[in-house]
């Protein structure tokens, strides 16, 4: 399938695609609109590293610190604390689901975002997380400082104890006092050193509108996605389909089934149908004299493709043009010709073939006003006759020849209707006795696989397939040349 075919299939399916997409979009809209509102609130934090407060060029460290704090803000202890501060009646897991923290840019900013069922809940949780993170960072640094100072403090305590135990005028006192002073001084210095800081830059505000659901946006997106998916599914379905291609391209259908389309017959009756059978007749008459069939079996794979319809209309069309056209009902199982032509079913084919007489088996039928050209013409018809047990046995051998030979003048063309070839051997038995076979297809119902099975079987039986007649076809020509008439022939 090339690109043009691809888009042709899509264009052909446009209303199905549109319908499916609209359905999906409305389902998404409904689901989305009926889901609970979600509000979102954010707090911005600024991070300053200890070294950055003395040296402005340590941006990398600030960024690294912001990333570290973002991770910290996602840890369970911090979130548990935030939950506690917020006072919201939610579990830690829920709080974790509602919270997210991301570093913003590379200047050391953090954005804490909280979601909640109300604007207030979102703001509270966001603020609480900011507070919890700040406290956590401070506590950690306090802890580190305490650890750092632990040995210094121990020494200070030891020196203080030693001083207490010394006599006020002890010679060792000045040295120990100096040492004590120095240690206390260094402890103070260590405590007043700059620290890493996290501060609120902008506090959370209660959002005015929910961030979700967004039914319109969701349904528009769903519509677009559904359009693409439905279009492509249609293309795949078409590629896998066993149906005949829709549309009016008889050449394409001919190529697919391997035989030329001799006529595309529209549904119904009247001028377009007559015109289609005129086309079929012209195809037969255009064949070189040596190749023109004198007997044609009308075959289809299944019931209902329009075999009897085709056989009768071909007989009418040919009969209008020339004398000596004979129509035989070879469908001994469910014969239809006698009813459609308003004849008695028997005597007919079975009576002749079982040597029960030929009297009354052959009828003369008018071609009908719509087919008549000039003088009224007639064709001959033999109905199926009485029902028989074994139609294949009755029809085998030289049955067609024996039927034809009951006429005083050999017919110029014999047309034989048959039962469905996919179900019964009768059709092949008859086809093998004819000069040519016309395969009848239903443009809407026939399946390519079935058609190929039948054409293969007919070819194997030794019969020559002339081409196919496409019933219930979309016929454009009548539309485009509406009001024009064929020159009388």
């Amino acid at each position: 399938m090339d690109l043009a075919d691809h888009f042709r299939v899509i264009a052909h399916n446009w209303w199905r695609i549109l319908l499916a997409s609209l359905l999906v979009a409305s389902a998404v809209y409904y689901l989305s609109a009926s889901s609970a509102d979600v509000y979102e609130s954010s707090t911005q934090l600024g991070v300053t590293s200890a070294r950055a407060s003395v040296d402005a060029n340590v941006r990398d460290e600030t960024v690294f610190l912001a990333e570290t704090y973002a991770e910290r803000a996602s840890t369970t202890p911090v979130i548990r604390e935030a939950k506690k501060i917020s006072g919201l009646p939610i579990s830690v897991d829920e709080a974790m689901d509602r919270l997210s923290t991301t570093p913003v840019g590379d200047l050391g900013f953090l954005e804490l975002t909280a979601r909640g069922p109300t604007p207030r809940a979102a703001r509270q949780l966001s603020d609480a997380l900011a507070q919890a993170l700040i406290e956590d960072v401070n506590r950690q640094q306090d802890l580190a400082l305490d650890q750092d100072l632990q040995s210094v403090n121990a020494e200070i305590d030891a020196l203080a104890a030693e001083l207490d135990s010394l006599a006020p005028d002890s010679a060792a006192r000045p040295a120990i006092e100096a040492r004590y002073e120095a240690l206390v001084q260094s402890a103070v210095e260590r405590r007043t050193q700059p620290r890493n800081r996290v501060e609120i830059v902008s506090s959370a505000e209660a959002p005015s509108a929910p961030v979700s659901p967004t039914p319109i946006r969701n349904s528009v997106l769903a519509f677009l996605v559904a359009m693409v998916v439905a279009a492509e599914l249609g293309v795949v379905g078409h590629a896998l389909s066993d149906r005949l291609p829709r549309g009016r391209d008889a050449a394409a259908i001919g190529q697919l089934v391997g035989y030329p389309v001799l006529a595309s017959v529209p549904r119904g009756s009247g001028a377009p149908v007559v015109e289609a059978f005129r086309t079929l007749r012209t195809s037969l008459m255009a064949l070189p004299p040596g190749e023109r069939p004198t007997s044609i079996a009308i075959v289809s794979a299944t019931e209902g493709a329009g075999k009897s319809f085709t056989a009768i209309n071909l007989a009418r069309s040919m009969g209008a043009q020339e004398a000596g056209v004979l129509l035989i009902d070879g469908d001994l199982r469910r014969p239809a010709l006698h009813e459609r032509l308003n004849l008695e079913r028997d005597p007919g084919v079975t009576d002749v073939l079982e040597h029960q007489g030929t009297r009354g088996a052959v009828h003369s039928v008018g071609v009908g006003a719509e087919y008549a050209v000039g003088e009224p013409r007639r064709f001959l018809a033999i109905p199926s006759g009485h029902p028989v047990q074994d139609p294949v046995a009755t029809l085998s051998g030289d049955a067609v020849h024996r039927l034809v030979s009951i006429l005083s003048d050999p017919p110029r063309l014999t047309i034989i209707d048959t039962p469905p070839a996919a179900l019964f051997a009768d059709a092949l038995t008859i086809a093998a006795q004819c000069d040519a076979v016309i395969i009848v297809l239903d443009a809407k119902a026939s399946r390519v696989r079935q058609i190929i099975d039948v054409t293969d079987a007919v070819t194997r039986s030794g019969a020559r397939i002339l081409g196919v007649v496409l019933n219930r076809a979309d016929v454009a020509r009548q539309g485009r040349y509406y009001g024009y008439t064929a020159t009388g022939r």
């Binding site: 008889a250 001919g254 030329p260 012209t282 255009a286 040349y481």
Partner: protein, 185 residues
């Protein structure tokens, strides 16, 4: 020499192709009369799109064309019948079966004519056509084929008319060369 071009209504493809072929043959120095016919009823004028295509090519003497119908006499009078599609070929042959050796679709004739021996070598138009006919089978006659049919623009967009006109430009030019070669003594 008389050439007949055939299409459905004789208002689009065949009159345009006839005008083009007539000029092509005249330019090649072939004394020929070129005429066209349709399989539908007569007395209609080509649509504006066809008149525009004729004007664009300076083929103004063909602007007064009125459609005419295919008759057995016209088929018999022609020495070469060029059909726009297989369906027209069948119509011609069904009317006058003897016309088959000198009736071709335009595309098929140009293709076969271009592939075989040089027309001049076969000894005249009718022997050249008969030689080409001998290579055809009845399968080349039945159904429809994009390889043999010139697209019918009637009732379609202006672009379809332009596409058909452009295709006919090329095909009629090739046919004029082949016929000129076949009739050269």
């Amino acid at each position: 020499m008389h050439v007949l071009l055939v299409c459905t209504a004789n208002i689009c493809r065949s009159p345009l192709a006839a005008a083009m072929l007539a000029r092509g043959l005249a330019d090649a120095g072939v004394a020929a009369s070129v005429d066209s016919a349709g399989v539908l009823d007569a007395g209609r004028q080509p649509p504006d799109e066809i008149l525009d295509e004729l004007r664009a090519r300076g083929l103004d003497e063909w602007l007064t064309h009125q459609s005419s119908s295919l008759t057995p006499e016209r088929v018999r009078d022609a020495e070469l019948i060029v059909c726009m599609a297989r369906e027209h070929l069948r119509e011609v042959v069904a009317v006058v079966p003897e016309a088959r050796p000198y009736t071709f679709t335009l595309k098929d004739l140009v293709r076969r004519g271009g592939a075989g021996d040089a027309p001049r070598a076969t000894g005249g138009l009718s022997t050249w056509l008969a030689a080409l006919d001998a290579t055809r089978t009845s399968a080349d006659l039945l159904g429809s084929s994009a390889e043999d049919d010139v697209e019918d623009p009637f009732g379609r967009s202006r672009r379809a008319y332009r596409r058909t006109a452009a295709e006919l430009d090329g095909l009629t030019a090739q046919l004029a060369r082949l016929v000129a070669d076949a009739t050269a003594s």
